[in-house]
């Protein structure tokens, strides 16, 4: 593995051994490539063995059903790479959905205007998260558990148990339209644009280097000139803004605005991001892995649904994948340590092993 092997107890950091491998081993033997390989395997297996999986409708519904997860997973990956987490995304989706419903039907605004205001509300929600986390310095887990309840409560409180369902057909059709005569729905266009933007932002910009640095060590990041608070603030605002956009999308796609839209999606997004190889400790991850993670969950879901498995079995599989994917890092680390100990590679490593086995010396 090329990765810095970071465990909870002993941050081992990068070792020289990590660079002793040839470059192709370093690029190919990564978690991201493993997830992509798994995705290709599952896709290939499903195309060969699951009836109807090969039909163009599969790709169409796969894109439609996972669009909001994919959209939110992009900024969420960045948030998790900085070592923070945002549990409030699905509540922002619900809030934005309710805003669109109320503004369009009670206030009579057009869909684009209602959508714009919903995104503004999302930005305000994200700014509150970001302010409390980045500037007040509260733990993001606690803050976003709180705002998760608060934003969801606002959404449910505004609409109660009623739903707004009367949306213009022009707009609801737009959300499910194909791009020309291809098998992809229209929502793929904003996804591709955002993927490009986020790949540039995370992997090719100074901002992105700052994101990784904050995740590895935020004090060091601060002293090397990264504006830690501003970076985190921007990420939380971005996450909520994109969640609000996802809220508009699912409102139009399902044709109804309800307070409990997308309940529980925050966990799906986080599961996909972590499955894609982003470390929950921060500082490690790549967007190609995240995209593969979202697609892997989506493909497994649609393949199993076509085989008439219930959503429960699908949940078990996703949960097991998530646990296995994080355990695999620990198991690999443990195995390579064992191997190194047996081979007696390098005195440094042995000294480290001695230090961890008798800490009082």
């Amino acid at each position: 593995m090329t990765s810095a092997t970071v465990t909870a107890s002993a941050p081992a950091g990068r070792t020289y051994r990590a660079y002793s491998h040839s470059w192709w081993r370093r690029t190919l033997l990564t978690r991201e490539v493993a997830i992509i390989a798994l995705l290709v395997l599952v896709f290939g297996w499903a195309s060969a063995n699951v009836a109807n999986f090969k039909s163009p409708l599969t790709v169409y519904f796969l894109s439609l059903d996972n669009a909001e997860i994919m959209l939110i997973a992009l900024p969420m990956a960045l948030v998790i790479i900085t070592g923070e987490i945002d549990l409030s995304v699905a509540s922002v989706v619900g809030l934005s959905s309710v805003m669109v419903g109320i503004l369009h039907q009670d206030a009579g605004f057009s869909i684009p205007l209602a959508g714009l205001i919903a995104i503004l509300v999302g930005i305000i929600a994200g700014a509150l998260n970001g302010f409390l986390i980045a500037y007040v310095g509260l733990p993001s887990l606690a803050v976003t558990i709180g705002t998760m309840a608060a934003y969801r409560g606002l959404a449910v409180g505004l609409l109660g148990t009623t739903a707004k369902t009367d949306f213009p057909v022009k707009w609801t059709d737009l959300s499910t339209q194909h791009i020309g005569s291809t098998r992809f729905p229209l929502i793929v266009i904003p996804i591709v644009v955002l993927v490009a933007v986020f790949v540039w932002l995370l992997h090719f910009s100074t901002f992105g280097r700052g994101v990784f640095e904050i995740g590895l060590n935020d004090e060091a990041a601060h002293f090397s000139g990264v504006n830690v608070a501003r970076t985190k603030f921007i990420l939380f605002v971005l996450t909520a803004a994109i969640s609000a956009f996802a809220g508009i999308y699912i409102t139009l796609r399902s044709g109804n605005a309800r307070g409990d839209n997308a309940t529980g999606d925050e966990l799906k997004v986080i599961a996909a991001v972590l499955l894609g190889g982003v470390s929950i400790f921060g500082g490690r991850g790549a967007l190609h892995g995240v995209i593969a993670g979202v697609l892997l969950i989506g493909v497994i879901q649609s393949a199993m649904r076509l085989q008439n498995e219930t959503v429960n079995v699908i949940n078990i599989v996703i949960g097991a994948l998530l646990v296995l994917s994080v355990m695999s890092t620990s198991i690999l680390t443990w195995l390579s340590k064992q191997r190194a100990r047996r081979a007696g590679l390098g005195t440094l490593r042995r000294r480290q092993a001695v230090a961890t086995s008798n800490p009082e010396r």
Binding site: G146, A149, G153, T310
Partner: protein, 343 residues
């Protein structure tokens, strides 16, 4: 402050006790709870003095209280257990199935089975977290999906109805002893046992040490792995107990039993002053936090707030309490620095 001065404090013990009580988070939350009860009762005397007012006041928080106690012990070690809602649902369903398969099963045995089953599920979490050295958030998120999935595929479209369970078991849900509901007594006994253990026993204090600084605890020679494992087993068995109680209390077990309860349990602990990054807080606080959450939910409709707004109020409470904690800790730090500079 007292750590900086070598001589004993000049303030008399009685005043120190009073000062400690005034600053204690538990008492602050308890006062808020009493205010909520008082305000609601003034608005509508049935809330406290109605036919079931007193009983419901104690009975409704009992299940969340037990979950919050387990959750607090895990959060104190700087971990979190998101699987408790699913464990609760699974155990509640198991309880029903036991009665369907063996109608004559003694009630005590069912409680023990529930505890043991919950403990086993908690052990799975604990083994993965403590030995795998992976963050609890991810592992318990995964097991939350898995346990919920197992529950739903086991139950299918079946549900356990009141007629499937014996009356001696169901009556526990409403039975009272000296006008106190039995389930509340069970919850309080559990709370006292766990609270006493965390307050005085070595194992309990070590949970705080681990949560304050896991690396230091390891270097100091504490058995970190074993303690974290124990905390998860405790949280699992609490969720199991709460599952059996849910079955007794509601009589039916449907597929959404325990859904989203994990976040309420975390919320109760946070409101009660358990720091999300471990090392501080008490289960008493978490228990009072649980009572406050449940009571506010019941009080809002009486106070004329539509019950749709409950979740919003809960969220505002959680955020308010962590912001308050932050403000208080900044003030305390400033005072300590002042005391040092003046010394």
């Amino acid at each position: 402050m007292s750590t900086l001065t070598l001589h004993p404090s000049d303030v008399s013990p009685a005043r120190r006790l009073l000062g400690g009580a005034l600053r204690s988070r538990e008492i602050a939350v308890a006062i808020v709870l009493l205010l909520v009860i008082a305000a609601t009762t003034i608005k509508n005397s049935h809330f406290l003095f109605g036919d079931n007012g007193w009983r419901d006041l104690l009975l409704t928080p009992a299940i969340l209280l037990i979950l919050a106690v387990g959750q607090a012990s895990v959060i104190i070690t700087r971990n979190v257990d998101l699987s408790v809602g699913s464990v609760l649902g699974l155990t509640a369903y198991l309880t029903g199935r036991i009665f369907i398969a063996h109608p004559g099963t003694p009630v005590v045995l069912v409680f023990l089975v529930g505890l043991a089953f919950g403990a086993a599920l908690g052990l799975v979490n604990g083994v993965l977290v403590a030995w795998g050295r992976v963050p609890a958030l991810v592992i318990t998120l995964g097991t939350m999906y898995i346990y919920r999935g197992v529950f739903l595929s086991w139950a299918g479209s079946n549900r356990v109805n009141a007629s499937d369970m014996p009356d001696s078991f169901l009556s526990l849900g409403t039975k009272q002893f000296l006008s106190i509901p039995v389930l509340f007594i069970v919850a309080v006994v559990v709370l006292v046992l766990v609270g006493y253990y965390l307050y005085t026993a070595r194992g309990g204090r070590e949970l705080y040490a681990i949560g304050s600084d896991p690396d230091a605890a390891q270097l100091y020679g504490l058995k970190v792995t074993r303690r974290i494992l124990a905390a998860f087993v405790l949280s699992g068995s609490m969720a199991g107990l709460a599952g059996v109680m849910t079955a007794a209390r509601y009589g039916t077990v449907s597929s959404n039993a325990g859904l989203n309860l994990e976040l309420q349990a975390v919320g109760a602990a946070v409101i009660g002053g358990v720091a999300i990054f471990g090392g501080s807080g008490t289960v008493w606080g978490a228990a009072i936090g649980a009572c406050l959450l449940v009571t506010i939910n019941r009080a809002l409709p009486v106070l004329g707030v539509q019950d749709f707004w409950q979740q919003f109020v809960v969220g505002v409470l959680i955020i308010g309490s962590i912001v308050l904690d932050r403000v208080l800790s900044i003030r305390r730090d400033r005072k300590i620095i002042e005391a040092r500079d003046n010394a």
